[in-house]
């Protein structure tokens, strides 16, 4: 019945069917295909690609440089380079590798451009704790817990050697494999894995309360879910 209705609708509105097909195609198109379509002049393909990657890329840069204004500039610079190099992109290369290689190079350039001191890092870390307020926190105690956890996480990230921090952030944000991360950072897969192993060990140790934090988080979520179920019933 539903299928018949859809068919009838499609017969009556062929443009809507074509539009839906295009939308489905965009949803399932892989990054490489979208990039190629953008390079050949389709602006919409870029928008889809951008929406997919903007969040992880932004967070990666923000965690790396620990300064929102600088992260904003770098974010724009990365996309500027992506746009400028669209014709040189080859579909055989994974788009995320292409994107994060540019991002990594931008971050390295930034590190080289400014000599950061330990004190400055402490200041920016405190600022980061302030600026990274959770948007949807409902209760003041949760906000405090989140802010404390974020500050602790940021402190732990700051204390990682930069190459370990980079591998950890790339693994978290880019979705790339260790081999691809090694390719971006200019080391072999085993070295990347070793760096990640150390990073995870140190973070886990520094964030001893992570389990408590998450348990508290899930405890908060569970009664809410039950409440919703009861209200529905």
């Amino acid at each position: 019945m539903a299928a018949r209705t859809a068919r009838t609708f499609d017969m009556e509105f062929p443009n809507a069917k074509a539009s839906r097909r295009q939308s489905d195609k965009n949803d399932t198109a892989d990054d490489a295909e979208l990039m190629m379509r953008y390079a050949s002049g389709e602006a919409r393909a870029f928008d889809i690609l951008y929406e997919r990657h903007k969040g992880p890329l932004y967070r990666y840069l923000l965690r790396q440089v620990r300064d929102r204004a600088v992260a904003d500039d770098l974010f724009q610079e990365v996309w500027r380079r992506v746009i400028a190099n669209r014709k040189r992109y080859q579909a055989k290369a994974k788009f995320a590798t292409f994107l994060y290689r540019i991002a990594h190079n931008c971050a390295v350039d930034e590190f080289r451009a400014r000599a950061r001191h330990r004190e400055e890092r402490s200041e920016s870390m405190e600022e980061a704790g302030e600026m990274l307020a959770a948007p949807d926190a409902e209760r003041p105690d949760r906000q405090v817990a989140d802010a404390q956890f974020r500050a602790a996480f940021q402190r732990a990230l700051d204390n990682l050697p930069s190459e370990q921090c980079t591998v950890f952030l790339l693994y978290e944000e880019s979705g790339l494999s260790l081999e691809e991360i090694g390719e971006i950072t200019g080391v072999g897969m085993e070295t990347a894995k070793s760096r990640l192993r150390y990073a995870v060990g140190k973070l886990r140790k520094a964030l001893g309360s992570v389990d408590d934090f998450l348990e508290a988080e899930f405890d908060q979520a569970l009664p809410r879910t039950r409440r919703v179920g009861l209200e529905d019933a």
Partner: protein
């Protein structure tokens, strides 16, 4: 108590690599920032601008190619026209030359037609050669107009005294 820089054990690392560890969950829980909307707009606008000059460039290239083709075609047409004109001129000259030759050859016939006319000799349209003159005299004799033929012969002898 283990050292802070102790690497993760295999189990911990495997859990982490499968994105099942509390560390990953915690990270994703607290880090949820996204670029501000003005950055979104700036980047998307840049992406569109990059394509916008691509279109005029393509159009300019197409126009340039069309103009070149047009010029090339125009030059060929002009050259063809020049060749045609040259050919026509040559043809016209050949026809004129043939006409002239034909007139020269048909001269005696004209005289023969005009042989009945009394004043044919007094109003020659073209200067006579000795041969054409002799041919005219011959035509007059064949027509039985001997007196006129004799008169023309005397004129001829006067005009070309040494050759007679």
């Amino acid at each position: 108590m283990p050292e802070v820089n102790e690497p993760a054990d295999d189990k911990l690392l495997e859990d982490y690599l499968h994105r099942k560890s509390a560390l990953s969950l915690g990270y994703r829980k607290v880090y949820v920032e996204a670029p501000p909307p003005e950055l979104d707009r700036a980047v998307k606008a840049r992406a569109k601008r990059a394509l916008r000059w691509l279109l005029p460039a393509a159009i300019s290239l197409a126009i340039a190619i069309a103009v070149l083709i047009g010029i090339n075609t125009g030059i060929h047409k002009w050259l063809d026209a020049m060749v045609d004109a040259e050919r026509n001129l040559k043809k016209l000259r050949d026809e004129q030359a043939a006409e002239k030759r034909k007139k020269e050859l048909e001269g005696p016939v004209v005289v023969a037609i005009d042989a009945n006319s009394r004043d044919h000799a007094s109003t020659p349209t073209q200067p006579r050669t000795r041969e054409t003159w002799l041919a005219e005299i011959e035509v007059l004799r064949k027509a039985g107009r001997h007196e006129e033929a004799d008169a023309e012969l005397r004129k001829l002898q006067a005009a070309f005294p040494k050759q007679n």
